[in-house]
Amino acid sequence: MTEKKRRAVLGLGNVLRRDEGLGIFCLEPLRDRLRGGSDIEIMDGGVLGMSLLPLVESCSHLLVLDALDAGSAPCVVMEMAREEIPLFARLKLSWHQLSFQEVLEFAEVRGKLPGHLRLVGAQPADISAGVGLSREIEAVLPEIVDRALGILKEWGLT
C-alpha cells in the first residue's frame, strides 16, 4: 500500500476554451499567495482523465479547482464537500469522455478517495474556443483563491 500523504491543489480544465480553464488560471495567484514555505503541491491537471487517478489516490488532502456547471448564473462561485460531489459513470462512445468525476468514483470504489476532498469553482460565462478568461470570471478569480486558501487553512496546512 502506498502511504497516503500528499497534499495537493489540483487545477482542472481546458485552457483553450476560455473560462473552462479557470481552475488552471487560479493556480498562479494561489501559488503567489502561499509564498512557498508550504509542502502543498500545486498541480495543473489540464483535461487529463484516468492518468490523474494515481495522483488522486496518493493524497490525504486534495483540493480541486474547476469550472462547475450547476445550471446557475455565470460567475456564481460554488464549493462542494467530499460527500456532495456527484460521482458517476455514464454510457460512453469514447474513452476520452471519461470525466474527473469518474476518476473520483474509481478512487472511491478502490477505497482510496482522499479523506479530505473539496471542490471549488464557478459557473463559467464563456466557454467558446480561445485562450484567456472572460472579464466576468476574471473578476471572481480572487474570491475562488480566497476560498481555496480558507480551505487549506481549515485543513491546518497553512
Binding site: L12, G13, N14, V15, L16, R17, E20, M43, D44, G45, G46, V47, L48, G49, M50, S51, L52, L53, P54, L55, E57, D66, A67, L68, D69, A70, G71, M78, M80, I85, P86, L87, F88, A89, R90, L91, K92, L93, S94, W95, H96, Q97, L98, S99, F100, Q101, E102, E105, F106, V109, R110, L119, G121, P124, I127, S128, A129, G130, V131
Partner: protein, 580 residues
Amino acid sequence: MSRSIVIDPVTRIEGHLRIEASLDAKNSVTEAYSSGTMVRGIETILKGRDPREAWAFAQRVCGVCTSVHALASVRSVEDALGIKIPRAARLIRNMMTAQQFVHDHVMHFYILHALDFVDVAGALKADPGKTSEIQQSISSWPNSSPGYFAAVQKKIRTIFSGGSRSLFSRGYWGHPAYRLPPELDLLVLAHYLECLDWQSRVTKIHTIFGGKNPHPNYVVGGVPLPIVMDGGRALNAEKLSVIADSIKKLNDFVDMVYIPDLLAIIPHYPEYAGLGEGLGNFLTWGEFPMGDIADSESFVVPRAVILNRDLKNPVVPNPGDFEKMKEYVSHSWYAYKEGDGAGLYPGQGETTFNYTGPEPPYERLNVKGKYSWIKAPRWNDKPMEVGPLARVLVMYASGHKATAELVNTVLETLEAPASALFSTLGRTAARGIETKVFGDLLPGLYDGLVAEIKAGNTATFDGRKWEPRTWPKHAEGFGFCEAPRGALGHWIVIESGKIKNYQMVVPTTWNASPRDHGNQPGAYEAALVGTRLAVPDQPLEILRTIHSFDPCMACAVHMVDAAGRQVAGAGTGFNPIARS
C-alpha cells in the same frame, strides 16, 4: 417498417460523438451517420503565435492524446525549418511514443472496450475455482488462485450493488449479445481492476524523459532533457535503471495479461470477424523513425495507403501532395471561400465556422445537409480508415516478421482466413498486436540510447535554428505521428516568425468523418452498415464497432456537472455550439 436510433451521450455541456442509424425490419443497420457535435477551434487559436510554443497549446486539445499532439507539432516546425534532432533525442522520443501506445491501448481495452464483450452480471455467477484454472492455463500471471478470484468477485458484487453511484451503472449487463462463459467474464474483470494499479507504475518513462508528469515537456529541436551521467536533474544512471524497470513492468502485463485475455475472448464472438470494417481503404503516416525522419524507409510502421483491401500493392502517400490530400466540408459546419463543394489541402486549409444545424435540443440532424463539426478528409478523393488495423495491415503487407507471427496466431485462434482481419475483431486484435510489437521495441531503443551515451553522443537538443532570425521569411511544414488512434497530421505555415496557418487532421477526423462532396461515407458510417441489433434500444453491437476504433473526440470541454445528471440518449439542454 424501418426505424431509427440515435446514440448521443452528450451531457448538458459536453459535445461529442453522435451516431444516427436507420434500421430495417430485422433491426439491421441500413444507413449510419456520424456527427462530431463539438467544434475544436485550435487552428484559430494558434494563428499569430510563436511556432515554438504551438506544441504547448496543441497538447491541451485532448486529455488522453497530450503527447502525440505535442510530438506532431514540434515535428511540423522542425520540418518547416529543416531542423534535424540529435540521435539520442530521436531514441527518447521513440521510447515515449512506444510507452504511450502500450499504456493507452491497455487502458482503452480494459476500461472501455472489453466491457462490450465481458458481462459484469456474468462475472457474478462465475465459479472462482474454474476461473483460476483458466488463468493458469493461459498464462503464468501470478494473481491466479481461486481465493484471489473469489475476492475479486466479492469486490465486483459490492460495486455492482452500489446503485447509481457505481462504475457499472450504465452498462447493458445481461444483454443477450454477451456470450462469454461467466468464468472468463470474471477473469477479465479482475484485470480491469488490476490495470488501474499497473498504470501508476508504468508512467515513469514520461515523467523522466518529459521532465514532468502530467503534461510532459517537448521542445523544437530535440528533447528538453540533458544527459549528464552523474547529474541530479538530468538523465543519469539512476534514472536509466528506473526506466529499464518500468519497461519490464509495462511489457509483463501485455505478455501475461492483455494478449492472453484477448485470445481467450475473440473465439466467442466469431461473427465480429465478418463485419465492422466498411471502407477497405487504410492510411498510415508512419512511425518510429529509426533513422532520419525524412527517410520514411527507416520507419517501423511504414507510410502507406492500402486501397480496396489489396495488401499486395500498398501505395506511398505524399502528405505534401496538394492534389491528393484534401478536406471537404459539404456535410460539415464550415464555409470555404471558394464554395463548400471545394476540397482544400490542409496546408491551405480554412477554419470558418458555419453552423447550420438545429437549435439544441434536437431530435434529428439533417443528414442531407451539413451535420458535423468534423471535416471530411480524403486521400485521392477516397475515405480512409486510420489506426491499429491500418498499421497492422501495413506492417503485415510489408513483411514485418513479429507482426506477421502475431497476426497468424490470431487467425489460428479464430480458425479464420486473412480476410477476417477486415472486421471489428480484426481491429480489436490489431490493437493488441501492435501493443506487443511496439512494447517490444522498447528494450532495443533503451539499449540504443545507452550505446549512444557510452559513445559520448549525449546531445539531446540542436539549437542552431532556435532563434527566429535564422528562419526564412516563409516556411511550410508537415508534422506527423501515429497516435494510438491513428495517423495524425499537423500542417504549419510560418511567416515572419509567426504561425500564419495551422491545420490538424486528427485520426478521428478520418474515422468519424461525415459524408463528402460525393456522398461517400466515412469509416464509422460504412463500418456500421449490416450490424444487427438484438435489442434496438440497447445498441451494444454498435458500441462494439465504434469502440473498436477508439474514438477521440478531443475532449476539449471538461466540466464538473454539479447536478450529477446522467444523460445517455438524445442530448438535452444547453450545448456550447449553439453559442458560437
